[in-house]
Symmetry: C3
Subunit: 167 residues, 3 copies
């Protein structure tokens, strides 16, 4: 089973790249959305994503328990998880232990019985944020991305819709 | 006719890379600046850019109507457009429809009779901005960059003055 | 003597990449830390870095005078400098002339008698910062990174712990 990782900025085209990649992995793809639809802005984003996707996808909303959902899917994958930074942010807002959650995710990925494709944001190449919470989130997101990349078979850096394989 | 696209961060050296590239395309290069000189800070930036450039360049200031200016230049190019994020920002401040403006630009690029070289900023890899306007701009800039890259023959990612061809 | 440059975002894994690279350059590596330990948050970061490093390293704290310390080390290197953006920030806070400091650094690098490995942050690919000081810092950091890259024999772009040689 393979683990593939797409990382890029906001609106870099990383989701489309990852979707196309997932479609080539198998006929019964799962789309695991990590967002909770809490406001108009988010609703618009989800709608835009859904309109783009083929009807073949099975959509699962998993704002917190990615690991449990991956285990439930078992061998029925491939599974696209979009995106990890939002999942991490949800755990931060729920005051969960992020190190534990990240390690749990890594263990689940390694033991997954389906091909997994993950999408995440690079959030660390702007100016240092003013507030401590944003800095903590940025640190945790960076560590998460490193760990996910280290267990991934393939890693793609996405800029302006162009994917470049870096691992 | 070719379309080439240089994308990178602020002060990444993308303008110099794009200038050198444009000079190799032909003897009568046009430099299309998208800035309006509204303050001291901007004046300094423009001056720095101009001092660096060879005297052969014909400079055109086009804060809003890139498409019209490209059409006027016709076959007399090549044309360097620096930069698209500022052009998009100008349209945002003028409350114009950004989707329409981007689509108009794409159509003009496809139909251009001169070689075109475009410069743009990656603005999506920092922490999510606090305010809605910045998020909207970031989204629109990302979508614009994707569309421009998709019609470009060559795309270069620029970091610390080093250009890497990604398409 | 070689100059090598690792650039990436916060928590991109650039320090680990640079450390491993430096260890392959020689048996008596120097670690030049540019931070002043002013608060708890910084102390935690330094501790995390130190715990990761092998006992063979000689640590030097050089928040301002990298050039002097490189000269003192002479031929006893290799030297890892982590990181340049913090060094630049220290000079900014001390109201020193950044152009002069950067040029002095470049001269020192060119004349160094040991292999030098430098680490720096890409800080220019987020939204334009609100305040003038942050914009000035971003500009200066970008120019510094360009100059350092231009005199480097090898440049690596680091994302999610994955290093990609771009020069």
């Amino acid at each position: 089973m393979s683990i593939s990782f797409f990382i890029g900025g906001a609106r870099s085209g990383k989701s489309i790249s990852a979707e196309n990649y997932t479609l080539n992995l198998g006929n019964n793809p799962f789309y695991m959305a990590t967002c909770e639809i809490l406001d108009e802005e988010m609703a618009l984003r989800v709608k835009r994503h859904q309109q783009r996707r083929d009807k073949n996808w099975t959509t699962i909303v998993a704002p917190l328990d990615i690991s449990g959902e991956i285990q439930k899917i078992g061998t029925r994958g491939p599974v696209l998880i979009d995106c990890l930074t939002l999942w991490l942010s949800n755990h931060l807002l729920n005051k969960n232990n992020l190190d534990e959650k990240i390690d749990e995710l890594i263990t689940t990925l390694i033991n997954s019985k389906s091909d997994i494709v993950l999408v995440s944001n690079e959030v660390g190449t702007g100016i240092v944020p003013d507030n401590l919470l944003a800095r903590e989130f940025r640190d945790n997101a960076g560590f998460m991305n490193q760990k996910v990349a280290s267990v991934s078979d393939e890693v793609y850096w996405v800029v302006a819709g162009i994917q470049t394989q870096i691992k």
